[in-house]
């Protein structure tokens, strides 16, 4: 039963009209003027085999959007704009895709190389850099338009081919750092004048750097080496001192074990004054004291560690493993350096991402086609979200963390 009110009668019965307006149910008013949504509890999950990403929210643990058409995501990762509105997804096929986290759509997409391995966003959020295997080098784009700003081919002495580049991270003062897999070099790029990238090259850092990371404060860059036991460290507060070897000879001369998936150094685990790193070709996690860079302990692990991730408060490390032992996560107590919990989420655990304050962790289980959400205190599974071959999980809080 509706009653039409013309303008005059509305004026005449103004008071009654106001009363009627106040009686409009909350939901109806919300429809008229949508409640703005924030992005702080959002995340993006890669479905590696189908070129698709899911936008999720970690409060109610639901999927908000499904976005198709991102190409080959077999080794994909993402960074976020400083307002946490946009994700930049780096695909294997050289695709760089800007995704709107709120509207759940692709805003911009370029195929900028033949074969890529991740990227980084600059300190000021204006530049997005992509690391390329083929042609080897780093390309830097305008974050708004994805227009090319700088092209840095990884040419090196003694080869006509360009080196594959790995371990690309952002650093303070508008810099990027990355390493050259084939050349054994680390390059520091100052982009404070985008028209004139200033590249400082550090040569002879070690054999086959396969990934790199930067500490949360943006001071120390560390490249993991595949070709030898040890890591290569650059102190960005004293780049004139060059790249130094740390944890040299950690394998103690033993023949390395085969590695069925390369470790990833993205989740630099810093806790209790120590840094925790996956050994390569050893079923161990190495603890190194920051500052002295001495080894201060090692944890015997289930298999070849892939990700060693510190819970945000630093008390526990969550570690996943390489094929064929990738059905397992071990939780390690940083205080005692012992395994306190072994979880079996399912076959092919590929990635773990903590909610910003660490109360939950989201785990992608590729061969289960599922993302599991664990309570990090009770280890209880709180939610199961079906996904197609999920791999990387990226929460928007990364927007405010150097190196992620």
């Amino acid at each position: 039963m509706t009653r039409r009110i013309d303008r005059r009668s509305a004026l005449k019965f103004g008071l009654a009209g106001l009363g009627a307006a106040m009686a409009v149910p909350v939901a109806a008013r919300a429809e008229a003027r949508p409640t703005p949504r924030a992005t702080g509890d959002l995340g993006l999950i890669i479905e590696r085999a189908v070129g698709r990403v899911r936008i999720v929210e970690t409060t109610g643990r639901t999927v908000l959007h499904t976005i198709e058409g991102l190409g080959d995501l077999s080794h994909a990762s993402a960074v976020f704009s400083r307002d946490e509105r946009f994700a930049y997804v780096f695909g294997r096929d050289g695709g760089l895709t800007q995704v709107d986290m709120l509207e759940g759509r692709i805003v911009n997409r370029v195929v900028q190389g033949g074969n890529s391995i991740g990227g980084a966003i600059s300190q000021d959020g204006r530049l997005v850099a992509v690391s390329n295997y083929k042609p080897g080098g780093v390309k830097i784009f305008d974050a708004d338009t994805l227009a090319l700003v700088a092209d840095i081919p990884a040419a090196y002495e003694g080869s006509t081919e360009q080196s594959k580049t790995v371990g690309l991270v952002d650093a303070p003062e508008q810099k990027f750092v990355f390493s050259l897999y084939d050349a054994g070099e680390t390059w520091l790029v100052d982009m404070s004048d985008p028209a004139k990238p200033a590249v400082t090259k550090f040569k002879g850092i070690g054999k086959l750097p396969y990934d790199g990371l930067i500490t949360g404060d943006g001071r120390h860059y560390v490249a993991g080496l595949f070709g030898e036991d040890g890591l290569a460290m650059l102190d960005l507060w004293a780049p004139e001192n060059g790249v130094k070897r740390i944890l040299g000879g950690y394998g103690k001369g033993d023949k390395p074990l085969p590695v069925y998936k390369m470790p990833h150094l993205e989740g630099w685990a810093e806790a209790d004054g120590k840094l925790f790193l996956p050994a390569v070709g050893r079923h161990e996690i190495l603890a190194v004291e920051r500052g002295s860079w001495r080894e201060v302990g090692r944890v015997k692990a289930h298999s070849q560690p892939v990700f060693v991730m510190a819970r945000p408060d630093g008390r526990h490390l969550w570690v996943n493993y390489a094929h064929p032992d990738n059905d397992t996560i071990e939780v390690i107590d940083v205080k005692t350096l012992s395994v306190v919990k072994t979880l079996k989420p399912g076959p092919a655990v590929l990635h773990m991402e903590f909610t910003p304050r660490g109360e939950h962790v989201w785990v992608s289980v590729r061969d289960l086609d599922m993302v599991l959400v664990y309570d990090t205190r009770t280890f209880e599974v709180l939610a199961r979200l079906p996904m197609d071959k999920p791999s990387g999980i990226f929460f928007t809080a990364r927007a405010h963390r150097t190196g992620l």
Binding site: A49, S74, R92, I117, Y133, P258, V259, M262, A348
Partner: protein, 116 residues
């Protein structure tokens, strides 16, 4: 579950004849095992060689990149890896005849056809 990887080639061939006669051709693994091998090739070999096998940290495994390499040496690489590189040995879960079959599939460029 029966572990095919621990089975000797003659028994494997016999099993292939008994279980999947339709899929049997010149020492091919049985159909169910082919699925496992191809899944692993795409998903796990794919972490270094790319899920489309166009390469990554490891080289491309496409027909044009493999055509000049002998089947035997490629089979040997799968089984025993390449020392001093990240390529690990897969003999612990792949038999010689399975590795040889994978090489044939790779050289034909039939990996993704075979999975559909």
């Amino acid at each position: 579950m029966f572990d095919w990887s621990r089975t000797s080639p003659p028994l494997l061939t016999l099993a292939a004849l008994l279980i999947a006669p339709a899929a049997f051709a010149a020492g091919d693994p049985p159909e169910e095992r082919q699925k496992v091998l191809l899944y692993r090739l795409i998903q796990d070999c794919g972490s270094c060689h790319g899920m489309t096998l166009k390469g990554g940290l490891g080289p491309a495994l496409l027909p044009e990149t493999l055509k000049d390499k002998a089947d035997e040496s490629l089979t040997d690489i799968i089984l025993n890896g390449i020392e001093g590189t990240p390529m690990p040995p897969w003999a612990f879960e792949t038999s010689a005849s399975e590795a040889a079959w994978l090489v044939r599939v790779l050289k034909k460029g039939a990996v993704h056809d075979a999975t559909h």
